[in-house]
Symmetry: C2
Subunit: 142 residues, 2 copies
DNA sequence: CAGAATCCCCCCGGATACTG
DNA sequence: CAGTATCCGGGGGGATTCTG
């Protein structure tokens, strides 16, 4: 079940970014949200730059370049240049990327399945704010 | 296995943020990286504000407040105010939050287990850049 | 103790133009 | 086609101060 050594487990349980720099960096990478979308796109197979640009709606070519570069650096994406005219570049998930995609997809799936509950919670929260937080859980002591 | 309707599935496979606003918003929430750390902290049980501030190394009280508020709004964290003097506030995961924590932890665990491979990939990538990308995969045609 | 408010800097990221 | 280079505005987020 838990294949982590006790030492590793302790180190991560401290939740200190300085002790788990890679972890917090990788998590930050998800923040730009483009990374997740690109990884999900590439699960379908190798894609060209322009193909990704077309399918990842709303991304600028600048962010596409930067995000792909970062993913390549982390070893989850492989970049292959075909020296044709005009040039063609293909991006695909590495083995590491394939394995990374699993928890990513699990996360996306969770959000998708629960987005109704989330939106309901947001609506209730916003309504509470207007009523001066009348509905909040509050415990009175003495 | 797959409880998603075909229509929902299609909508998400488009990877269009405008069609999956909640999904991309939730993913963006992970970006600030504080959310993930806080959720992992709260898996251990209810925590007070100052307790979180102490244990989530590097976070400012401003970001702690804002992040907790956002998580509360999304319905993954419950905020309980004890009207003592001095005041005390407790934060805990809701049922939704507990379920959300699962894919989060899976993601964190993956990064932790593979951080050696990632760091190796980064080192190789950086070395490649210095050598004028001599080691990149390049396919020559014609 | 648990915030709210204010100031302010940095840099993320979009738009546009240019190149091999 | 697949980038790079440059400019630039908005906001994310830290530091500090004030309050119930």
């Amino acid at each position: 079940m838990n294949t982590m050594s006790q030492k590793e487990n302790d180190a991560c349980r401290s939740y200190d970014p300085s002790k788990c720099p890679t972890v917090s960096e990788m998590l930050s990478r998800l923040g730009d949200k483009w990374s997740v979308l690109i990884i999900m796109m590439l699960r379908e197979g190798p894609k060209r730059f322009s193909e990704l640009k077309r399918e990842v709606v709303g991304i600028s070519q600048r962010m596409l370049t930067l995000t792909l570069r970062a993913l390549e650096r982390d070893g989850v994406v492989r970049r292959t240049v075909f020296t044709t005219v005009p040039p063609s570049v293909e991006y695909e998930l590495t083995d590491l990327g394939q394995s990374f995609a699993e928890p990513i997809v699990a996360l996306g799936t969770w959000v998708f399945r629960n987005h109704t509950l989330i939106q309901k919670a947001r609506a209730e929260f916003d309504a509470r704010q207007q009523d001066g937080r009348a509905g909040q859980k509050l415990v009175r002591i003495a």
